[in-house]
Symmetry: C2
């Protein structure tokens, strides 16, 4: 039982991810594409906007005709027509001394090169208009192709699609896009003591918590959670369930059974999976040390610790970056962080990364929030519920003093 | 056409939200509850964990029996049984001098008050065990109810449910929870120039962009987007479509037609909606000034500017806080922000809040990122695509200099 490779440090563990590649792409309609990652560059096949548009209600003019005009000495132009929003301006062409009424968003007539806003004009009953302020060429206009020229790169491969990006795509008439597939993540809890959340545990048993927590963590990270329930601590059964789960999943999260005790089948099971290859057993992170990583081709298998707090830290530090890597986002944590000040000393041992659960309390006068440790055994849930995020303490650091400025990773 | 109330400042506009109340609650299963907000307090109806558990593989003991022991002078205890994970320990009761083998997560026998980890014990063939290090009462144990006692408040009303919160609920056997209903948001674009994204616009027409952008913004903010497509600039038709949309929606977002030009039916339509009541026309924010807010009972109607950048700023500043208020999250922006340094001066007029689109470039040596303005007409989309977030400039501020530390709101 002592045939484990030495504990890996967190950077070592993450470097194992380089061996995995992002998932294949799939076409999705824009309405489903928010937060997804483009699997190829998008190039504009047309001009956006397709024609020069007015950004004001007013008069399309030739700017030269307004040169030097003022309220006292207005330029008099002949109004030859009106362009409402949505009208084609193709039949209109401005000759010197002419203007056309135009609405915001209206298409500019031929030979017009500026728009005068209506507020600085005086409409004449005679069909003329007085212009009381000069405009420069291009003023109050968006030119055809000013947003995107024909052939312009609109979005690069690897872009995470935000609402405005989807808007641009719809503006270009692109209604579905190739994005990296979302990783399918099979979730399995192991332990003879576990019963499903909807059952009343008999003496000695407890309800399965990790299935619920991990499914929510996976979905939050952009994956698709596939529930596989609970499997007892039985090698043959675990091997069968895991092998089956890997047929449809890209990732397996097996929680429990990964400490060094007598029931640690996880690493044996992963090693016995067809084409299974152990990558690491154990990582020098606290809480969470017993984290196992194996691969099956481009698929990955994680053995997570059973205690909820440990499973969650390992998820954030290792599973989440790999899920993001699969989805084309890069193997990063992808968590927001805030600057805070330690409200107390945070002791920590050298040679081991530590992730301390902390709560944040706002301070007055714009001072940084105070980070207070929410200590508690890793098997307890209440400290996680009270915490706002994790304070990472590097493995070269022998703890932190009180009043130190730090960066706290926020739970999403 | 000049019967508008004066422009409201952003705090005035937000104070209008106080008149709206969070939506009714609904029961949802845990698997659907991530990110939702609890509509009532959750109290534990049982002990969690339900029994005292070992956090180690080892031996359950009476701590007093290990007092003063060491590797040289071990304590000898009689092993009276073994408790595996999931076993009931009800039939075992430790007398002085007795121990029981126990697995991590195992239920503690009667009268045991600590666990000795297996690494500091020596198993004897005789059925005894040698203990080489003393333990204190409570060591390596999670006590029954240590997480949550009977009747303890687990989560308060208004809590946003995170993965760990859902985990605790499943641990307590609570498989569905009362949460505030997600706001249903009807989205309608108005403008005679608009065609749907899947059509090729004829001359003078452009594709509808706001429907796509706003739907994604709504979903990102936790709402349910209901697409109502495009409606031409026609009072009767707009009134009919809006009235119908409000039958099933909590919020209406009508974009376009809210400038002061000739086709501005939005405020007339909102005022004509049955039980409609105008709250504000115009807010002193740039870009986005023409933002209209009306109510119909507890429902709200927003008139948003047509240009994409303006619509988006108004969404983030005003619609998003109201959606969050409806969902029980409080009328806050709910956007992450980062500290940055201005890469250039940011001129701004006093008396008007400004939200400048900025891109952020990382700096070396841990310096704050540089915020550079991504200027562009509000009708252009490409500046929004290039931007990482918004730099708010308060209405009392006459612009910002170069090299000033600022807080940038990140696009989610």
């Amino acid at each position: 039982m002592n045939d484990f490779s030495p504990l890996k440090s967190s950077p070592d563990f993450n470097s194992l991810f380089a061996g995995f590649t992002p998932l294949a792409s799939e076409m999705v309609p824009l309405a489903m594409a928010r937060g997804r990652v483009l699997a190829s560059e998008v190039v504009s096949a047309e001009l956006l906007p397709p024609f020069s548009r007015s950004t004001m209600d007013g008069y399309a003019v030739r700017a030269a005709d307004t040169c030097g005009c003022s309220g006292l000495e207005a330029a008099h132009l002949t109004v030859i027509g009106a362009i409402a929003m949505g009208d084609s301006a193709q039949e209109l062409s401005l000759q010197p001394g002419q203007a056309a009424r135009i609405a915001t968003g209206g298409a500019l007539p031929e030979l017009a090169d500026a728009v005068v806003m209506v507020e600085v004009t005086r409409h004449q009953e005679t069909g003329a208009v007085e212009i009381c302020r000069p405009v420069a060429p291009g003023e109050n206009i968006i030119h055809a192709g000013e947003d995107y020229a024909h052939g312009a790169v609109v979005l690069s491969r690897g872009s995470r699609l935000r609402p405005q990006d989807l808007g641009v795509l719809s503006g270009l008439g692109i209604t579905s896009v190739p994005v990296y597939r979302r990783p399918r993540v099979a979730i399995l809890s192991t332990g003879d003591e576990l019963v499903p959340a909807d059952q009343t545990p008999s003496p000695g048993k407890i309800r399965d918590i990790n299935s619920t927590t991990l499914a929510a963590l996976v979905e939050e990270a952009g994956g698709i959670a596939i529930a596989h329930g609970i499997c007892g601590d039985d090698f043959d059964r675990l091997l069968k369930v895991c092998t089956k789960a890997m047929e449809e999943a890209d990732v397996l999260l097996l929680s429990g059974g990964s400490s060094r005790g007598q029931r640690d089948f996880t690493h044996q099971v992963f090693a016995a999976i067809p084409q299974g290859q152990m990558l690491s057993h154990g990582v020098s992170v606290r809480p969470g040390k017993p984290a196992i990583l194996a691969r099956q081709g481009n698929k990955s298998l994680f053995g997570l610790p059973g205690p909820a707090a440990s499973a969650m830290v390992i998820f954030y530090c290792f599973v989440r970056p790999l899920l993001r890597h699969y989805a084309g986002l890069g193997a990063t944590l992808g968590l927001s962080s805030v600057r805070a000040v330690t409200a107390q000393p945070f002791p920590s041992a050298i040679g081991r990364e530590e992730y301390v659960r902390v709560s944040l309390s706002p301070q007055e006068d714009g001072a940084l929030p105070l980070a207070t440790a929410v200590y508690g055994k890793s098997g307890l849930l209440s400290p996680l519920v009270r915490a706002d995020g994790l304070l990472p303490i590097g493995q070269e650091t022998e703890g932190l003093g009180r009043g130190i400025e730090v960066s706290v990773l926020l739970f999403p």
